[in-house]
Symmetry: C2
Subunit: 199 residues, 2 copies
């Protein structure tokens, strides 16, 4: 059949472009929007326009911020001696949600990926090297995904930072907590054997 409404079809198409939303979910959302009042719709739209107009990136770490410096970089209670390097600004939220880390962050804004045409110069690496060189740093934690791109970027950064004399670590790769050994893939098992620790 032809779609009952061009407008409904357009909203459905726009929502299905968002990550994690298929055409069925998008259609469900479009019908949900139809039921909302004008006030709710205005609030929804305003939240998006405000985001685009007002959001900034922290001048120190590159994370999301409402001001020049983000709340983590300007928090006097955080340990300025440790920097955790992440791929994207969202990873900061993930690590913060897990708790336990009280240092600073540095957002690379991507990973080295020659196939996608992303080289070291496309990433926020120069600023990281400057932060490392500024002294007072006891450790750099590389918290990148255990993928080919993540591993390549980790090795590249380690080779750059090593001469500065800062201690470099990488987050552990191994069995996820709560997993069943029987169902874990062999690459992960091999990594967890390789990275075994003395108890």
């Amino acid at each position: 059949m032809a779609a009952p409404s061009h407008y409904l079809e357009r909203v459905t198409r726009e929502f299905s472009k968002l990550p994690g939303i298929g055409s069925k979910s998008a259609s469900r959302i479009a019908f949900h929007l139809l039921k909302l009042g004008k006030g709710d719709i205005d609030t929804f739209i305003r939240s998006i326009t405000d985001l685009k107009e007002n959001i900034r990136f922290c001048s120190i770490c590159g994370g999301i911020s409402d001001s020049e410096t983000c709340s983590i970089c300007s928090d006097v209670g955080r340990d300025k001696g440790i920097i955790c390097v992440v791929e994207g600004a969202r990873d900061i939220l993930t690590i913060e949600a897990a708790g336990g880390f009280n240092g600073l962050y540095h957002v690379l804004s991507g990973l080295i990926s020659p196939l996608d045409g992303v080289g070291p110069d496309d990433l926020n690496i120069n600023k990281l090297i400057r932060r490392c060189g500024a002294g007072n740093l006891s450790e750099i934690i590389l918290a990148l995904s255990p993928t080919i791109e993540g591993d390549a970027t980790t090795l590249y950064l380690a080779s750059l930072i090593a001469p500065i004399g800062v201690s470099i670590t990488r987050i552990a790769h191994g069995l996820p907590v709560g997993s069943d050994l029987e169902y874990v893939d062999s690459a992960t098992i091999a990594k967890s054997m390789e990275g075994r620790v003395r108890i």
Copy 2:
């Protein structure tokens, strides 16, 4: 931690109010929106405002439409002798997508549900009775969900339409195609036994 941005938090909260979107998906979408250009964002927002400003409900069946009468009610190729009664406008899309039905529709805009304070007067029933009384109808198909509310509404509508002398049917309740008898719940098994057909 405090959220890194009030604006990001607001967008995340707004998206997580939509059906089928949890807080993690909403956060992922918010970060996705950050990466989009102004043009894409404008198109996205315009699709929503256009929907709210321009969408109409068909004056005959109550379905979604861009004009006074929807594309199904105004389609001369459809069988005007059969009306399929559905709970919501979205059900029309679902039945059309399945194919095979070439009649008209009637949207009730809800189901009778005393617990939620929804009685027959809150539904689009009077117009349905008028359509039934207008003659030329050979069949009314009640295509409501097999829930307590759906069954109650089906029985209520059947009692109203029967005196008019139109043939009334209900869509079949039974085993979903492709299901395994072993894993189907007993209420569905009972319904499928009750509704067995001669082969």
